[in-house]
Symmetry: C2
Subunit: 114 residues, 2 copies
DNA sequence: AATACTTATCGCAATATTGATATAATAGTT
DNA sequence: AACTATTATATCAATATTGCGATAAGTATT
């Protein structure tokens, strides 16, 4: 089961690097989304059995663009590009802004060990 | 219960206008996402009890920018902007590319009336 | 109706993303 | 090793988004 893009474990690394620092939170959340989207595109493409070049042609762009989209460090993700990719791969873009529950870890009792 | 942005029922209207035409599909899906995101931002802001000006200041921009984001016709949504808004409103950006099941409505039996 | 508050819209400069080509690097095959 | 296919990176012009001020328009309150 190899679903992760082999060159990047960005999510996990990031998650462990940052605590509750309000200062870095902004950049962190941003980076988290970027890494996630890059992974989404990579997964969708590989599951469809397509090369970057093949996908690029389907949405009317070039291979380097797709490679850039799948780069975990890429910060320029747009919803229009995500839509184009999704449609070519017969997928639907689902987006939501889910409320963050104020503090589950601040409770005085230890969190249940699943 | 008034959660919809009063000036726009874009989603419903769009849904009824388009059938299976592969030609228009591209623009349609794009527009659908745009309308949805605009609504997400509007909902999140109003539920937080903030004015456009107030939210704008929280994320370091101006009121006209927020108004533009909430415009159903706006096509320039970026994930970075969505992240900024989400964070200011204590929300998390959730994104997914869900596979579209080929044809549930093409079945020879009528769809169950819920 | 005047005031205060909120939102919509326009225009334009600043900035960022995209498109595209070329090239390097990696992997797999024969 | 040579060949092929795939992916990563760099650069730059073209395009699109953002920032921002000004202003119009809509709501509510007094």
């Amino acid at each position: 089961m190899m679903s992760k893009k082999p060159t990047s474990d960005g999510m996990e690394i990031l998650d462990r690097m940052i605590g509750d620092d309000t200062e870095v939170r902004e950049m962190y959340e941003q980076a988290k989304v970027n890494v996630h989207v890059a992974q989404l595109i990579y997964d969708a493409r590989t599951e469809a059995g397509l090369s970057q070049t093949a996908l690029a042609r389907m949405i009317g762009t070039t291979q380097s663009v797709i490679s850039r989209l799948e780069d975990a460090d890429y910060e320029g993700h747009s919803l229009s590009m995500l839509s184009r990719v999704a449609q070519a791969l017969d997928r639907e873009v689902k987006i939501d802004l889910v409320p963050i529950v104020p503090s589950l870890e601040d409770a005085s009792f230890p969190s249940p060990s699943v």
